[in-house]
């Protein structure tokens, strides 16, 4: 594809190495002498899958180029490998308990550390009840390529806000990162249809892990299988499947 203008590539497939040109300035913008030319140019945000290359963007992942106003561009790609990003909410598995920190498997290249003080209401005397093998829903506060990622289970005001150890039972499975993002977009079809089946609970981590729980083990497994299947089902196929369960089980 070589180099094309960004607007033309939106919604198209882009490949690593492609260069997307950002128009320097709209030609019909009024000229001014007082340096307004610089401010008239909007800041472009290049999200995941894009790199800055001088004044243009370079693609580094293959997928569909997405755009959001005013000037946010990113590549929606299918991948299974999770790379920690600061601020992401993920599901981790506690693997070891060493002194003051827990080591948590996050599905990335390195285990994350989780301080025992990073739980709601935890103090040095009042330790949180976390065991090896527990699932925790947490948020990254440190995540970069040079340092060990660090998780917390509280927000900036010290509240748990749903983070922490995920309850007993339930079932955790892995899906692709693309599906996770699809599930988390507001007003998406899958969740809308899921609401109507039967009482259930889902926890979705940005690292591709999903935990589900329903009233019985059978129901839990049905939800898990449905979600796993969503990856490869078309919209109509999915509707058929969901409709069947909406009638039968309840």
């Amino acid at each position: 594809m070589g180099s094309v203008r960004v607007e033309e590539a939106v919604g198209q497939v882009v490949l690593p190495g492609d260069v997307l040109l950002i128009p320097s300035q709209s030609p019909d913008a009024p000229l001014s002498l007082s340096g307004a030319q610089q401010t008239s140019r909007i800041k472009v945000v290049c999200g995941p899958g894009l790199l800055r290359r001088g004044d243009d963007l370079q693609v580094c992942k293959c997928g569909l180029l997405k755009h959001r106003d005013p000037a946010v561009y990113w590549v929606d790609s299918q991948q299974k490998r999770y790379v920690p990003v600061k601020g992401d909410h993920i599901i981790g598995i506690v693997t070891t308990k060493s002194g003051d920190v827990f080591k948590v498997d996050i599905g990335g290249s390195e285990q994350a550390s989780l301080s025992f003080l990073a739980f709601e209401g935890a103090t040095k005397k009042n330790r949180p009840n976390v065991k090896v093998g527990d699932l925790v829903y947490g948020q990254f506060i440190v995540a970069n390529k040079d340092m060990e990622p660090e998780l917390v289970c509280i927000d900036s005001s010290g509240k748990a806000n749903g983070m922490g150890v995920i309850g007993q039972d339930g079932f955790m499975f892995k899906v692709s990162l693309g599906l996770v993002r699809k599930l988390l977009t507001p007003q998406n079809d899958i969740i809308q249809e899921m609401m109507n089946i039967y009482p259930l609970e889902i926890v979705i981590g940005m690292n591709g892990r999903i935990w589900t729980k329903a009233k019985t083990i059978q129901q839990t497994l049905i939800v898990a299988n449905l979600l796993e299947a969503c990856e490869y089902l078309t919209g109509t196929q999915r509707k058929n499947v969901f409709a069947r369960f909406a009638d039968n089980v309840v």
Binding site: K43, C46, W74, N161, G162, L184, L200
Partner: protein, 166 residues
């Protein structure tokens, strides 16, 4: 004849060499000294300290790199519960998913206030006074009271002997 000229040439060369030796420096004539100093100065002038490179300009970048999907897509809260399976989570869902909308509203309009700024100022004024009273010593407290009542009280306070009427 030929021999002698060669010998004299060699002699001259040697004397020149000896002249440049450090222990013979004093015998150098003023002119050569000056010339040497000038040479040195020329080497270490101001330009000596600058690199001969094109000027580096700091360019303002209009591109912000972002490694997270969050600013790109407004994701929902990751915990969900439906049909009352986990009421706590359902409450959280409403709270967290409405947060994004609520923030916009607050930014746009002025914050709703129960107490106006003027009311606040009045409240503080009285508060300052009462606190001041608390920390003042007894003697000062009297003065404060007097100030407040503008000497109305003091006139009352002055007790004089009243002669009983017959």
């Amino acid at each position: 004849m030929f021999w002698s000229t060669k010998a004299t040439e060699m002699c001259l060369q040697q004397t020149n060499l000896i002249c440049f030796c450090p222990f013979m420096q004093r015998s150098l004539d003023a002119e050569t000294k000056k010339q040497m100093e000038e040479d040195e100065k020329r080497i270490i002038s101001d330009e000596h300290w600058y690199l001969d490179l094109p000027e580096l300009k700091e360019k303002e970048s209009f591109i912000i790199e972002e490694r997270s999907f969050h600013p790109c897509e407004d994701f929902l809260y990751g915990r969900m519960s439906f049909k009352g399976f986990n009421p706590e989570v359902e409450k959280l869902m409403v709270q967290m998913n409405s947060k994004a909308d609520a923030e916009d509203v607050v930014e746009e309009g002025k914050m709703d206030v129960d107490i106006t700024d003027e009311e606040m100022a009045q409240r503080y004024e009285s508060l300052v006074k009462s606190i001041q009273k608390k920390f003042a010593k007894k003697r000062d407290q009297k003065v404060l009271d007097e100030d407040e009542n503008q000497n109305v009280k003091s006139s009352k306070m002055k007790k004089t002997f009243l002669k009983p009427q017959d």
